[in-house]
Every structure is written in C-alpha cells, then in structure tokens.
C-alpha cells in the first residue's frame, strides 16, 4: 500500500491504496465518485474516460502510481466546466441518452474533442469518438449533440 496525494476536480484528495490499483477504482471505490463507469476494463470501450493532465484517459488501465501530480477531471466536474456545461446541455437538447451507462465517457471524450477542435468535421468526430462504444447505438444522437455544442461554443456560448 502507498499513499497518494491526488488533485481531483480541483480538490486535494489523499488515498492509501495498492500502487497497481487502476485510477477508475480509486475514483469509484475510495473516493466514491461513481460517475465514471467500468465497462470493459481493457481500455476498449471508453466508458471510464476521464481527463488526466488535460488528456482524455482510459482510467481502467492507468495504475494510480502512474498519475503523479497531473490533475484528474471527471464527469462530476463537467457542469462547472465552460465546455462541459455546453456539452451536457446539448446532450439533453438532443435527447442522446438511452440506458446511459456509457454516456459519462462519451461526454468526457466529446469535451476533450471540442476543447481541442472547436469546429470538428465529420471525420474529426468519427475519429475522436470512434473508441467510445454505445451498446444502445446512440451514435447519431451523440454526433448531433457534438455539432449542437460546437455551434453554441463557437457562437460564444462557452
């Protein structure tokens, strides 16, 4: 076991865990932040996506010992994030969610895309979101919501 000082959503959090524990389980089990979901556990589905040091990261395969002092941002912080808030509103506007299980990962990926590429092309969306799976098949609505959010963000809505 080892003790780690983490910066999660702007707050200092201390955890004492095995160094090999994936970040996902530290968030869910130790910090009780259950917005981030376990999907496949092998970085193949994207349900566990969070931002680490500003990079969309698959938290299920990153041991806590590899996080270091990079800030961790989860879906719980999106309502207070200028881009995250617009994306969440677009998600509601386009009625994206069906079962909802993958959607926190989808939103975290979409926010990462829009922060880097405010006016994404179809190809940008296809490539950036292509690693986030949705078994309900909400892909058309996800795509529509990203375009809605992009329109609002480039109008100065952020």
């Amino acid at each position: 076991m080892a003790t780690y000082q983490l910066n999660v959503n702007g707050e200092r959090r201390e955890v004492t865990v095995d160094p090999s524990t994936p970040l996902l389980w530290v968030l869910r089990e130790d910090l009780k932040m259950t917005g981030t979901k376990f999907g496949c556990g092998i970085s193949a589905c994207g349900a566990c996506t969070v931002h680490v040091g500003g990079v969309a990261t698959r938290s299920c395969i990153v041991p806590i010992s590899h996080v270091g002092d990079r800030p961790v941002v989860t879906v719980e912080a999106m309502s207070a994030d200028p881009v995250g808030r617009v994306v969440q509103n677009a998600w509601v506007e386009e009625d994206v969610v069906q079962c909802g299980y993958c959607q926190s990962g989808q939103i975290m990926a979409a926010v990462a895309l829009l922060k880097h590429t405010p006016r994404p092309t179809e190809q940008n969306i296809e490539e950036s979101m292509g690693g986030n799976l949705c078994r309900c098949g909400t892909y058309p609505r996800i795509r529509a919501a990203i375009k809605t959010a992009a329109t609002q963000l480039t109008k100065g809505g952020a």
Binding site: A56, L113, M129
Partner: protein, 205 residues
C-alpha cells in the same frame, strides 16, 4: 657515461612505444578497423532483423493506425494515427500509454508514445514487411528520416526511449512477457555502429 645514458633513453622510448602499440592492439575492437562494405551489409541485415520485429514495426506501419501483438493485429479501440502520429483528441496515444509500462494492467508505456511517420513505414499496406533493401533506402534517406546522418542513426538506435523500450516491453494483460527482438540492445547498437562505419551500405535488391 653520456653514451650509456643516451642508450638507456632510447631503450625506454622503444619499450614505451612497443607497450603502447601492443596495448592499443590488444584493446582494439571491431570499431577501430574500418568496416568493409560486405561487413556493413552483413551488419545491416542484423539491424533489419530488429527493425522488422513486431516490437518495432507495429508502430512503423503504412496504415492509418498502429498495430499490436506478435500477430500484428489492428490496435484496439479504433485508434487512428492522427496528424502528428499521436492519435486524435479524445483518443491520444497518451490516453492509455503512460511514461512507463503498466504491468499490472498490461499496457505498455514509454516517453512520448507515438507512431513513426509514414515516411518511415517499414511495411506495405497489406502488412507485409518491406524488403531489406527498401527499408535500408528509407532509413538512410535524409528527406525521410528526420535528416539523420549515420552518427545520428546510431544515436537514435542507442538512446531513443521508444527504441530502447523494445527491450523492456513489459507484460501483456495476461501477465506473460512480451517477446523481444532477435538481438540484444547491445548487439543491435554494435551492428548499427558497424553498418554506419561501413558508410551505411544498402542491399541492391
């Protein structure tokens, strides 16, 4: 007396010259002797055997995506190359591949994980490794290889973290160790040095 002293001095100098010469000869390695073209070509084939090993060629693809595993399958999660060979926003290489291997989860890692540029592709679009001559020509073409001359190529093979990663590739998700290239890193560097000393000769076909 002066004649005896002069003779002694000559003897000492002769002994010293002989000792230095013998020491240099005894300590000489292959790098002290210019390599012939034939030796250089033989060394290149050793280098080529490493470059086309999955640990290396999986990220020297001709495709829009990296490969993984000894079977060189397409990388999971629909990962794509991206404009700089580092993936795309929301699906960057660094989103999974950290600074070091994550053996507990089976994800390899190294500093600045990325794909080699397409100019350094060592396979065709059907995933077949290019010939020794084709790879050699690409590696020595300074318009394709980030303007590296012979010493630059040697330094790249000797020091680049992602090159060195091939000999410390970590564990797979099932806990087994990833396979290593056919030479040790020391042998790889020695073969590269020999090839560079010979003037980086390439096979004609």
């Amino acid at each position: 007396m002066p004649r005896i002293r002069a003779g002694l001095l000559v003897s000492i100098i002769a002994i010293a010259v002989a000792w230095i010469g013998s020491a240099r000869f005894a300590g000489a390695d292959a790098s002290d002797n210019p390599a012939s073209t034939a030796q250089g070509l033989a060394a290149w084939e050793k280098v080529y055997s490493v470059l086309t090993h999955p640990r290396c060629i999986n990220c020297h693809t001709a495709t829009n995506y990296p490969q993984q595993g000894d079977d060189r399958r397409r990388h999971v999660a629909n990962v794509v190359r991206g404009p700089e060979g580092k993936g795309v926003p929301a699906l960057n290489c660094a989103g999974c591949h950290q600074e070091t291997n994550a053996d507990s989860t089976g994800v390899p890692g190294g500093h600045n994980w990325h794909l080699a540029p397409l100019s350094m592709r060592w396979q065709d679009t059907n995933d077949r490794a290019l010939s020794s001559a084709e790879v050699c020509r690409a590696v020595t073409d300074r318009s394709k290889n980030n303007n590296l001359d012979g010493p630059g190529l040697l330094k790249h093979h000797e020091e680049e973290p992602l090159v060195k990663w091939a000999w410390n590739p970590g564990r797979r998700p099932d806990g087994t160790t990833r396979t290593l290239p056919p030479l040790t890193h020391e042998q790889f560097v020695a073969a590269t040095r020999r090839w560079v000393e010979a003037g980086t000769p390439c096979p004609t076909k």
